[in-house]
Symmetry: C2
Subunit: 228 residues, 2 copies
């Protein structure tokens, strides 16, 4: 799988662009005839309510692409923001389509990633609608750990996420205060350890999975392309 991603970068002769943490690459309802390919760092796709509340609907990790398009094929349906200093490539839709035409294997991989993203959203929707703060956060940690493991960005259950508690709250639909409390509780229970700016270590995946109400194997098949 990874091979194919490296492949994308080779195929594209466009220049990469370094963006600073906090940069907003695209606002909701902006014209959006582009796709972003992330080489380094994380992006967040989020949606805003008129009163300023923000919901992160997905994270875009290295080697993934982000397509913010609406059903009108013109405007963006989400805001795209760099969560940390990042390196991205903008690809306009025409070039992207050409790329897919020329590389059926790329097309296939991208389709799988899209399916995976859709499955993830469904899982989150389920937990946002029907479960407690503990379950939501446990799920978020497991999902992130799994995705990071797939790109070899974890080591024995330890990983780094470029998120503050506010962002984790925007992702899980909770206030930052309650994220804090819940994280502390998990610490005390010995499930995880957290360090500044979110260095996370998962000590007991199974207990965490139970809290998150997931079956690890099933989830993996559902949200990680090529998990076999």
């Amino acid at each position: 799988m990874l091979q194919t991603n490296f492949c994308i970068e080779q195929l594209i002769d466009r220049e990469k662009r370094a963006v600073a943490k906090g940069t907003i690459l695209k606002c909701e309802t902006d014209d959006a005839p582009v796709r972003y390919l992330v080489s380094e760092g994380w992006l967040a796709e989020s949606k805003l309510l008129p009163d300023g509340e923000q919901q992160i609907v997905d994270f875009i990790l290295p080697c993934e692409t982000c397509d913010p398009i609406s059903a009108d094929e013109k405007t963006s349906s989400v805001q795209v923001e760099a969560l940390c200093d990042a390196v991205v490539t903008e690809i306009d839709v025409a070039a992207w389509d050409r790329l897919l035409q020329d590389h059926p294997d790329l097309q296939r991989v991208e389709r799988l990633k899209q399916v995976a993203a859709h499955s993830r959203q469904s899982e989150r929707l389920l937990r946002l609608g029907k479960s407690s703060a503990e379950t939501r956060i446990a799920y978020a940690l497991i999902e992130l750990c799994m995705r990071l493991t797939a790109i070899h960005a974890t080591k024995d259950g330890a990983f780094h996420v470029p998120l503050g508690q506010k962002q984790l709250g925007d992702f899980t639909g909770l206030s930052s205060v309650h994220v804090c409390r819940t994280l502390r509780r998990m610490n005390r229970m010995g499930l995880i350890t957290t360090h500044e700016q979110m260095d996370i270590v998962i000590h007991d995946v199974f207990a965490l999975a139970e809290l998150a109400k997931v079956d690890l194997g099933t989830l993996r098949r559902e949200i990680i392309p090529g998990a076999a």
Copy 2:
């Protein structure tokens, strides 16, 4: 748009299948090498928690297709259920791929529908995460009304949905009791009228849109393919 849908049915020589209300066409984690095309009635895609809680992640309306596949390309990531007596066609993936290959216009329409579905999910995620019961329900009503209008299944803001309050709760992440209260309140405010088994009339779309915290034009462009 509609033309293309009629077209699908003509292209497919498979037999349609009548399914009774409540039929579960597919369970989560079942093998799912099929896609469903709905001719009549509604399906629900939902996800379940071990404790039996259910979250409806999307409705499949007539002329739409449903692809329950996971990232492993084998199993289903959702449960698919008929919300009322319905007529569906099962299409195996191979046949579907052939169909798409042979009909680029169909491929394009399906891509748009998929984008639209993704946008809808993001909108719901936003409201599940960050807003009140009133807002969630107002949004659900507006979304359904818009989608039904696109297939000419509304008349002056009046439409029917084959849902009980329990299902509406499973869709909006609320208990049926609270759905009831909220619906009554909207009734009293003169925004809507409801009749048995969910015949809904929207009296004041603008007030409802305000409650739902949506901009009607923007939402339409986002979630209705071909809205122009």
